[in-house]
């Protein structure tokens, strides 16, 4: 009888295991690109408290579920709107007041019965603290499809270090890969998904190969709130940094306006150059200046002369390259943004 109980237990574990593999097998397409669910995803998650609302962007309408770490499935009600011929947007309210704090995968079962899951995409927080902490890394430069590659190993060690830290979320400001090749993205995602905190990414100049970045994270321009504070994540791109021809200026203006009431507003990007699109600079640094900008790209800390964007209001914090083992943790409170000393896992 005892033996039979154990057998049953194994069968249950086996079913759970198969279910886990099954559901995770649908996470993204085989080449690592996004499937039916575009947003939220592991690089652009949502953080919200029970009772709050979030949006899901998909290729198809369907039933939406959250899945927690123990594979419990929570059905959600969504109100769908067709945004354009290819994209639907679902408005979802987290009505379950008892939902546990922590990370959730988001799952869709579409009207055509196709399933898709994005892991680590919804983070339920019981409260958003006025004093909180985040980590900033940049320039990871994953160079191959080998997870044992030096760059991948360094990234894994930094993620492990940040998992042990008191940071509430992690910002990764571009050059996530070296050439934006599919195998590099796959290694990057595999390690990113070991993070036990929400991870917000932006594109760097090395992450551009056509629309590869968008296939991985859908949007290179988005905004989010943490408590009283607002974050605008944007893309300065390569060669012509922040041009004015496309939609970027529109979204920057809209996000800046939406976050106007924030206690502090942060710009999260890969680089700042004076020669970047003048309209973007007017929106972010002149007409209604953001308080802080965090970026990488130059693989060193900013100098004292570089501590303020030349337009005079926005404070600059540059973190040296993660590929060399660097990361930095910040405290945020009523008094502003307080950087802790830059850390290095390689003992530099």
């Amino acid at each position: 009888m005892m033996f039979q109980f154990h057998e049953k237990k194994y069968v249950i574990f086996l079913i759970i295991g198969i279910f886990y593999c099954f559901t995770n097998g649908y996470a993204r397409l085989e080449d690592g690109t996004l499937g039916i669910i575009k947003l939220p995803n592991e690089g652009c998650p949502v953080m919200l408290a029970p009772g709050q609302t979030f949006k899901v962007t998909t290729e198809q309408k369907g039933d939406i579920f959250l899945i927690d770490n123990e594979q419990r499935i929570i059905p959600l009600n969504s109100q769908w709107e067709k945004k354009n011929p290819q994209i639907y947007e679902g408005l979802i309210t987290l009505t379950d007041k008892e939902i546990k704090q922590g990370p959730y995968a988001i799952q869709i079962i579409s009207e055509t019965n196709e399933k898709d899951i994005n892991p680590r995409s919804v983070w339920v927080q019981n409260e958003f603290k006025e004093y909180y902490i985040f980590a900033h890394i940049s320039d990871i430069h994953i160079r191959s499809g080998d997870p044992q590659d030096e760059y991948a190993v360094t990234f894994q060690k930094v993620i492990e270090k940040l998992n042990q830290s008191d940071a509430h979320f992690i910002l990764l400001t571009g050059d996530l890969t070296h050439n934006a090749l599919p195998e590099q993205w796959q290694v990057f995602l595999k390690i990113l998904n070991k993070a036990q905190k929400p991870t917000f990414v932006c594109a760097g100049n090395h992450d551009r190969d056509g629309d590869n970045y968008e296939k991985m994270f859908y949007s290179s321009l988005y905004a989010f709130r943490y408590g009283k504070d607002g974050y605008i994540v944007y893309d300065t791109r390569e060669y012509r940094t922040a041009d004015s021809w496309g939609e970027q200026d529109t979204l920057l203006y809209r996000y800046r306006r939406e976050l106007k009431s924030s206690r502090w507003t942060f710009g999260i990007t890969h680089r700042y150059e004076f020669t970047m699109g003048i309209r973007s600079q007017m929106i972010l640094f002149v007409d209604d200046p953001i308080d802080f900008i965090l970026y990488g790209h130059i693989h060193r800390e900013n100098t004292k002369e570089e501590a303020i964007i030349p337009w005079g209001k926005t404070r600059v914090y540059v973190v040296p390259a993660e590929k060399d083992g660097y990361y930095r943790i910040f405290d945020v409170g009523e008094g502003g943004l307080f950087p802790r000393p830059i850390q290095n896992i390689k003992g530099k």
């Binding site: 290819q86 056509g210 791109r237 390569e238 496309g246 203006y253 020669t275």
Partner: protein, 380 residues
Amino acid sequence: MEKVFSTVFFIIFSFYLILSPNLFSAESPKGHIAYLYGSDIDTFRIHILDLETKTEKELTTGTHHGAPVWSPDGMKIAFSAKMEGGLFIVIWDSNTDEYTILKHKYSWNDNPAWSADSKRISYISCEKGLTDQKTAVYELQSGTEEFWGGEKIPTVINPVWFPKLDILNAMSATVSQVTYTEGFDINKFFEEGYNTGVLIGVAVFPLAEKRLTTELVIFSKTQATPLPKELMLESARFEELNPQVSPKGSSLVFETNESGDREIYYLGRRGISNISNHHSADWNPVWAPNGEWIAFESFRHGRRGIYRVFPETARVFPLVVSGDYDAWSPTWSPDSHWICFVSNMYGKPQLYLKSIEEDKILPLIEKSICVAPCWRPKIK
């Protein structure tokens, strides 16, 4: 009697039909529109669409094309393109289908603008990443590149040409005492201006409190001065941008954040006035070729939309406004009856046409991404 009356009526009505440009142009916009097409900024190339035949031509020299700019005579397109050694200004000749790659001193050259006689091109020029962008002027006939504005001129962005010097003369007459910058020789400025032209641009320079500001500067080959302070707002406190001279050269518009948000100001013979006046941002003014209207972009109804304003009265009319999509980058047809613009109404940015008189919006090109349209001026 009745027959005579109906004959007269028929003749008058026929004349009305023939002479009314609105009626005909609203049905069939003609000409060519150049625009950028590609999957993103790294793959943009200029395409030219013939509105009548719907055929297209791709300009193939270089990569990473910048926005196309037709010459005022409608014969050539100037654009920047990436090639070995940097970013170059390229001229495409519609007559010969040949490209001329300008020879530059510096490796980074962008934002071309044609002089009114189509003989010169101005552009910003620097080493990549440097902040000291200079304004270069290239004379096509002699193939020479010069740097304008004299040695003291600061970094200038997006310079454009005055088609005539009327407004400059008018400005001098507007106020009894006009203050120019120290060392500025007004006589030499006008002498050079009448010979080779005058540019206006946005100068970026540091203030005493170690921050940058912008100011509108007018400059000729060797002379440069900020627009006289008697004519302008208190410019050190505000950032001006995007000056656009009217087609006849009799007035100009520009943006400033003087009111706490971006507004469009009109500077004419009777002084300066705010012609957009809204608490949402108003930006990117574009003169209609007939000089009567200015199209501009505004967020006053939430999304980015296109409006037109009659500068003499500051009356604003919506052109393309929706709560569901954004519209931007208007370019006028040569007869000033149509605009072509970019919109994300079906997802990614595509080109559309809109008659000034009618509400209907016509999709122009269904492929995406298409941005930075520029309508070919009337061929001279």
